[in-house]
Symmetry: C3
Subunit: 318 residues, 3 copies
């Protein structure tokens, strides 16, 4: 695994899940493999769980970590090749990347989509420039299209909760929100579950909110929560904005807030969410505070997933 920026970088998802759960059982299993190695964590956007869990994962492996909030402690990066930089961007990624690559053994980076320029977002300009110019493994901490560290955590949480003797029925359920959110988490979840191929994935969202079908091949697409939820073993609740009419919030018909009534349709499903969640907007108190909720367990597993990934990436460092 040269980089960890999407499911495409991973050849054996089950191996990564096993490693995640092995680190959970013993966080220092391989505690010295990162000794003398340095991880740079670059943030262009806010982060809590990803920021903290990745630092902890690196420390558990014996690595040194340096966090750099590019947006606040640095300056704006230019991503366009050939740009005449007479505007607001101060440094080109072509110059920053090789320097960062000389400082760090692995570079993690978070950058959110514009939700305005779909092509630019789909091009993953920052991630790809880092891959091209930094010369070290790149770790996505969520990018303009996907959030693979979250997806690995999600699959590990499903795997440790379900016996996996039967294929669980997993529903990715769109939820209401007050503003346009990225499609990264649902894109990535769909990509990982379908590639994993150990669960049946049903995606339910209002008309106008279908995800980019690049990520959803192999999943069943529905536009009605009731049909989707029937016999569900897991319900992954998440809001996202429209992909077709990019970044907008088309009018929604019907009630998409998961409640106890809808939960009765499920197979006593476990409810997942990547957090942060807006209570009583995306998901109700009654469900978040019920024993069906896996959200804390999911977030807590972020450490072990990051540790599994870093452990693999360390093999590519000099």
């Amino acid at each position: 695994m040269n980089h960890f920026t999407s499911a495409h970088d991973v050849t054996d998802i089950d191996h990564l899940i096993e490693r995640t759960l092995a680190f959970k059982a013993n966080r220092y299993t391989t505690g010295t493999e990162g000794r003398g190695k340095r991880l740079g964590l670059l943030f262009l956007n806010p982060s809590m769980r990803t920021r903290i869990s990745t630092q902890i994962a690196a420390e558990n492996l014996g690595m040194h970590t340096i966090v750099f909030n590019i947006d606040k402690e640095g300056w704006q990066l230019e991503l366009t090749d050939g740009a005449i930089m007479n505007g607001t961007s101060v440094e080109h990624i072509k110059d920053a990347a090789p320097v960062l690559g000389s400082y760090f053994d692995i570079i993690g980076v978070r950058t959110f989509p514009t939700l305005a320029n779909r092509d630019a977002d789909n091009n993953e300009e920052l991630i790809n420039a880092l891959k091209k110019y930094a010369g070290v493994p790149i770790l996505s901490l969520e990018s303009t299209t996907v959030h693979p560290l979250q997806s690995l955590t999600d699959l590990a949480t499903i795997a440790e909760t379900h016996t996996m003797k039967t294929r669980p029925r997993v529903v990715l359920l769109w939820a209401p929100h007050v503003k346009p959110l990225p499609q990264c988490v649902p894109n990535s979840f769909a990509e990982w579950v379908t590639k994993w191929d150990k669960a049946d994935l049903i995606i339910a969202n209002p008309q106008g909110y279908d995800l980019n079908d690049k990520y959803t091949k192999g999943a069943t697409q529905l536009h009605n929560p009731e049909n989707a939820l029937r016999d569900a073993d897991f319900v992954y609740v998440k809001n996202w904005s429209a992909y077709n009419d990019y970044g907008t919030l088309p009018a929604v018909s019907g009630d998409w807030l998961l409640n106890e009534e809808l939960m009765k349709l499920t197979n006593n499903a476990r409810v997942m969410h990547c957090l942060p969640v807006r209570r009583n907007v995306e998901l109700s108190d009654e469900i978040l505070d019920s024993p069906n909720s896996l959200v804390t367990q999911q977030a807590s597993n972020r450490v072990w997933a990051a540790q599994a990934v870093l452990s693999e990436l360390l093999k590519q460092t000099k």
Copy 2:
């Protein structure tokens, strides 16, 4: 000691003072007790001494520390139970706390009062929610009503400066300022000195600036600096805004800026301040630069007080 969020959490103040001074004498006395333990320091407000001294204290004990500026690197937390989160807050403390509790062995947090909503400030919503939901010891780095790490430092500084064979006369003296400040430091100082009961505490402030009497029981309250300062051994200078007409700055009569003339009334008193201090507004150059000033010693003692507290809290970690 399950938490360290006010004097109420402490059964034996003298023991904590002894530990503080023992760490000052030998910072590595118990240098391995924090090995493999992780401290999260969450800031919702600015901090210099508390931020740095607590990091150093943790490192001296062998702990790993992760600093997270929630206000700048994260997002706004919701504290109200049952809130419909369709406004500006992004994550409920009920969801954040257990996740943070799974990441850290001890959580330190700083949050300032609103100075607008007295009941909310008195309720210590954030500190109490963390205690309730995080499942790990909570360390106050100053909250909406008190600043116990500062108070422990203050008492240790008095104890190492005075022989303590006699009860020192300690004056908490209100000082002018240009804007409304929290009552946390004076509340906390009064609470600790009176609970400690090894010094006589006189509080002097203008009419309208009396502190919440919850914190000042056992102290003598005066509204005139001259009477208060007579024979003082220590003068703790500090501004605060009104508690009764909450967060306002009632008109002040008389001159409350400590000067050399007033100092003559004292028993060659040592002058204390928690810093930052506005020179020549709260306290004059002549006093701050005199040998009577303890302010640097106080601030420097912050490290050892934090180390004493962390050392106790570590006993509660798994």
Copy 3:
């Protein structure tokens, strides 16, 4: 070496260059000399390379580092003696410095010039107050007049690139920019190269952009790029604003953007820049992407230069 704030603090530049290149050859040469020592890095302004490379250098020496963004995580410092602090500054450097000096074994600090008040900038108020009041070695991370860590890196990069059997011809070439920049990097480069006295320094800039001659004594001053570039071995490209009409951008005649045509005048010169560089404004893609560019090597050497300096400063700590 008591401090590292300008070339004046250094008695033997060649020794520092040798140490820089020795650490490059073996970053752990003296890996335990910083054990138990603590470096505080204080930022009043943004930084990427300096911030990260100095943290890494300290870690390589076994030191603990604490980064504190005074401007964002703290508050405004007052630098004027005797100030009545009823404005926006919250803490006087006279109070902050001894506290920081009690927390850290070495203090690094970055502060930019105002470019408005030339006398204040020339006085290096913050650096000098830290030297006076902190009681520990002060390390400049770029100040209001100079950037000595950058200059040491620059000389080490020249020394490792040139055989140094002949004196290289080094041209400091002014370049266009979109806004007024400090003179720190060119001041410092001129000061170091002339003190070093192992290279011929030619400074070329438009009329009105002459640097403070305090820094340029011993260099040849030209106002025309062609004459300057003839037979150059190194071209150090950098923008700066006017010193005489302080902080302004006087009208420029002629074309000062280094291009391949101008490069033909040189002795196949190596091109240097401290980064960040605005591509196609200060320096063209064709030159930055050519084998003549040393910019990544320069930035990468920042780690070893910082390590050499910290290693010397550690000798002054208790």
